[in-house]
Amino acid sequence: MTLEEQALYQSALLDELHRGGAPEEILARLKARPELVAFRQYLDSIEPRMIAVGVALVARWGER
């Protein structure tokens, strides 16, 4: 994973957590992004119930 790919991942993760929805849907949207192909194995390791915590954190603390 290059730094450019990490930057895309970090931005995409915050965007998708902010967009919300069911945790499984959020993970599916991240996995469908072609720019995140290098993160596919990592994304497969994520548990949907923990994505829900990320959604709550971004809703509480995130600011654009």
Partner: protein, 278 residues
């Protein structure tokens, strides 16, 4: 071993902590350096920090650097400039920040989130740690995260931390409630969890409380220290030979009632007694 409080520029903190400070039970303070975006603290807080700084009993802690945000160089520069200005007028025994990232392209604020390991990100993080050390004018370190998205995050955070800290001979701030969250959320035992971290680097520990949200343990700092964290403290201390301070954290928003204030003081005195008995 010092028993310390995380200090906040909030009168609820002052009202709660003052009896402990007046009876000289508080060995050290931890100040969140960016709690006011590096603006000046109220006079009473400045005086309190100065009293502990004068005796080399003041620790610095940051929450918004977002160390591993790779598209946040302007954010990093502004934060480090603020820290450098702060440490030009106040000295800390060490300054710690958090593992993970919270901001990205299009995002200016957030909460720390885990990141997947890569060699490129490691190199990026080490460069930021060197900048942090320069601005801090003191040893620097990192705190482990509470949130793990999965078992990969749990398994890899300790090694990632070691590789970020080693090039700057950094310290690990071992937050025991954060570890407790991972243990509860992923069904881990204390010994196995502690083994994942470079405990020889631990110079500071945090104890705090939290809460359950939809069945998941969260590091919300709004409750008393749970028994699981006290047990973890007893397990961890003998494995952290360089540890010198344990800090009790509780948000001032959770110190509004007399019962909450009494609970906080009881937790601190329990911590003090536990450390003195070692």
């Amino acid at each position: 071993m010092k028993a310390a409080l995380a200090a906040f520029p909030d009168l609820r903190f002052l009202q709660t902590a003052l009896p402990l400070i007046e009876q000289e039970a508080v060995d050290a303070l931890e100040w969140t350096v960016d709690t006011l975006a590096f603006d000046a603290a109220p006079e009473w807080a400045t005086d309190l920090l100065a009293a502990f700084e004068a005796e080399d009993r003041l620790y610095g802690h940051g929450v918004s650097l977002s160390l591993l945000s790779v598209a946040a160089r302007d954010h990093h520069r502004a934060w480090l400039k603020g820290l450098a200005e702060d440490t030009a007028r106040r000295s800390y025994r060490h300054v710690t920040e958090h593992f993970g990232f919270m901001v990205a392209e299009g995002w200016s604020k957030g909460a720390p989130l885990p990141v997947p390991f890569s060699e490129a990100l490691l190199r990026f993080g080490v460069d930021r740690m060197k900048e942090l050390r320069e601005a801090a004018r003191a040893p620097v370190g990192l705190e482990n995260l509470a949130l793990a998205f999965g078992r990969d995050d749990v398994a890899r955070q300790g090694e990632f931390l070691e590789r970020l800290l080693a090039p700057v001979d950094g310290v690990l701030l071992l937050d025991l409630h954060n570890l407790h969250c991972q243990m509860v959320n992923f069904g881990l035992d204390a010994a196995a969890t502690l083994r994942l971290y470079p405990l020889a680097r631990v110079r500071e520990l945090h104890v705090s409380g939290g809460s359950f949200v939809e069945g998941i343990r969260r590091d919300t700092h709004d409750e008393r220290v749970p028994e699981g964290v006290w047990e973890l403290l007893s397990e961890a201390l003998p494995r952290c030979p360089q540890a010198e301070v344990v800090v009790l954290e509780q948000l001032p928003e959770a110190l509004g009632t007399e019962a909450e204030q009494e609970g906080y003081r009881a937790d601190f005195l329990r911590l003090k007694a536990l450390l003195e008995a070692r």
